[in-house]
């Protein structure tokens, strides 16, 4: 008797749920943005702005969930089945892995949105202690004896690969050859006392543990560190040459097609290029692509000579292969006897 009653009420309940979710499906849509660590605050604000925009233009409610972690780890989660509608990662190499490892996105994803599918950029700068006691001005100062440089391990941190490549680009530009650049990088990493596994760990090492004289950092992270930890404690030093860090964004084709969210996912990423999106990027210390918005922030972001992965390193696949894969240049630096 009881069981029968229970069954009946369960049936009613499930019918009711089905009806209500069916109705919701039309008026509400959910997106998952899988991103990397330091974009948390940016996307909290951006999601709110986009939800408002979508409601106004399409009359549909959109709820966006965010997932943050190391860039490579996040990409692996998506490869292993985390149903991201969009990814906003630290480097194109990790986005490309979605294609290579699991065929989740189209081959020409990098052309699907303007500016290499990177709506905002950053670069690598130096963070030094107040007064710049070791008088660090440019990359050459980092290879001097007695200077300690803090950077995460490029083998485990996607973000740290930009640091390494920025240094390489400087040496190549100044000393001309790959061999000279390798010598320079070897000397530089001899001055690195600790290789944290991720960017935030390295920040802690430099800021809280008081280790090191120079911290190689993404520009946006350097600003955050200044804001959170005191402008009286640290200064930003901008080197003569750095690299254009392009955090890539992409719609995860296979997932949006399965979930029927392509339209809103595409609009979400395109909104990053809108004036609102660009202003939010600037507010969170990423360099906006939009010239007009960038002009508002020109005091914050000094002009530097910036090299790019595609022009100077032949793209991410090649850079990864040459420098960071097992047996690559980075491993050679640490070979015993070197």
């Amino acid at each position: 008797m009881f069981v029968k009653h229970l069954k009946k009420s369960l049936l009613v309940l499930s019918l009711g749920l089905a009806a209500s979710t069916g109705a919701l499906a039309q008026s509400e849509v959910k997106l998952l943005n899988v991103s990397y660590d330091p974009t948390r605050e940016l996307y909290v604000e951006f999601n709110r702005a986009f939800a408002k925009h979508w409601q106004e233009t399409e009359g549909q409610k959109v709820t966006i969930s965010q997932s943050h972690g190391g860039s490579g780890k996040q990409a692996r989660s998506v490869i292993d089945g985390l149903e991201a509608d969009v990814v906003t990662l630290a480097l194109a190499y990790d986005v490309d892995a979605l294609r290579q490892e699991a065929g989740l996105i189209d081959a020409d994803w990098v052309k699907s949105l303007p500016d290499n599918s990177a709506p905002y950029t950053s670069t690598i700068v130096f963070l030094v202690r107040t007064g710049n006691p070791k008088n660090v001005k440019d990359w050459d100062d980092l290879v001097k004896p007695g200077i300690e440089v803090i950077t995460p391990n490029p083998k485990t941190s996607g973000g740290a690969r930009w640091n390494y490549l920025a240094a390489w680009a400087y040496a190549k530009d100044k000393y001309g050859s790959d061999d000279a650049a390798k010598d320079f990088i070897t000397k530089l990493f001899k001055n690195v006392p600790v290789l944290d596994s991720g960017a935030r760990g390295a920040t802690t090492t430099f800021v809280q543990r008081g280790l090191g004289d120079v911290f190689l950092s993404w520009e946006n992270e350097a600003f955050l560190a200044l804001n959170e930890l005191g402008k009286d404690k640290f200064e930003i030093v901008v080197p003569s040459i750095s690299i254009l860090a392009e955090p890539s964004v992409a719609v995860v084709d296979k997932n949006v097609d399965k979930r029927g969210t392509r339209k809103v996912a595409q609009a979400y990423l395109e909104f990053l290029y809108s004036k609102t999106g660009q202003e939010l990027a600037g507010k969170h210390y990423y360099r906006p692509r939009n010239a007009e918005v960038a002009a508002q922030y020109k005091d914050l972001f000094p002009e530097i000579k910036l090299v790019t992965i595609d022009n100077d390193f032949g793209g991410w696949q090649k850079a990864q292969e040459t420098h960071f894969n097992d047996g690559g240049v980075f491993d050679q630096i640490y070979k015993p006897g070197n």
Binding site: A97, K155, T205, Y334
Partner: protein, 274 residues
């Protein structure tokens, strides 16, 4: 020991459940791991696992795990002894504190230990002038692995000590045994199997530890890089098979060590019982 009855009600069901559960939670993931690792050719497999950098990391991982477990063997025993045999103010608190390394997220433990032992940390600032570097050295790795392993020895030895009756010691004393002899011939053999179990658990746990170590070790290739870090580095290259190969090495080594300790434990139980 009483003999187990040959037929227990619900035996079939519980055995079936146990087998299913163990397969799902343990054997299946292991099988996938092995399958991934052996998607490499033998030559690739050996090249990956015998790479000099990998070998340096095994030495650190196993060496520091062994040191950590050994320290816990001695001090865990003392802690357990104090907790069982003495009454003092705040004993309950100390007892609860022992489990803290279980509960704490390992990354938090790592950050806390690094804050203590870094050159300008609370403890580190006094050690550094003495020439003792803890954070960012193999010693730091051993400290982290000692921290996470402590509860294992305490929690395995404690119940055994509690069951040992004081009367046995008193009897030994009344028969003229010295304290040392009582310890050596009565107490120690009785707790030895539990000590070995605790040691093995602490050791096994330490080998795979990642979170607490990456913060304090400094992750310098060939010097302070643990094997789990190399596994993560391989994953960053989307080299799943290579990562699995290193994991298999850890697993096989750990399994052999656990097996040896089990045999030793079995032998010591029988000796103590007989």
């Amino acid at each position: 020991m009483s003999r187990r009855p040959s037929v227990i009600p619900g035996f079939g069901l519980s055995l079936g459940y146990a087998a299913f559960y163990a397969s799902l939670i343990v054997f299946l993931p292991m099988a996938v791991l092995f399958a991934k690792a052996f998607s490499l050719t033998w030559a690739e497999f050996w090249k990956t696992v015998l790479d000099p950098q990998a070998i340096a990391s095994y030495k650190l991982s196993f060496g520091a795990a062994f040191i950590g477990a050994s320290i816990n063997l001695v001090f865990g025993f003392i802690v357990a002894w104090v907790l069982v045999r003495y009454n003092f103010f705040g004993k309950k608190v100390v007892d609860a504190l022992v489990d803290l390394p279980f509960a704490l997220p390992t990354a938090v433990a790592g950050i806390a230990l690094t804050a203590l032992y870094a050159p300008q940390g609370w403890i580190g600032q006094y050690l550094t002038p003495l020439g003792i570097k803890v954070a960012y050295t193999p010693l730091g790795v051993a400290v982290a692995l000692t921290f996470i392993g402590l509860p294992f020895v305490v929690r395995t030895v404690q119940p055994v000590l509690e069951e040992l009756e004081k009367e046995i010691e008193e009897a030994a004393a009344s028969l003229g045994a010295s304290r040392w002899n009582t310890f050596r011939r009565i107490l120690f053999p009785a707790v030895l199997p539990a000590l070995l179990t605790g040691f093995a658990l602490a050791f096994a746990r330490a080998i795979g530890e990642y979170g607490s170590v990456v913060f304090i070790s400094g992750n310098m290739p060939f010097r302070t890089e643990i094997t789990p870090l190399l596994i993560v580095a391989k994953l960053e290259q989307y080299n799943y098979a290579g990562a699995a190969a290193l994991a298999v090495v850890l697993l096989v080594f750990s399994f052999v060590l656990l097996l040896l300790i089990n045999i030793l434990q079995h032998w010591s139980t029988r000796r103590a019982g007989g």
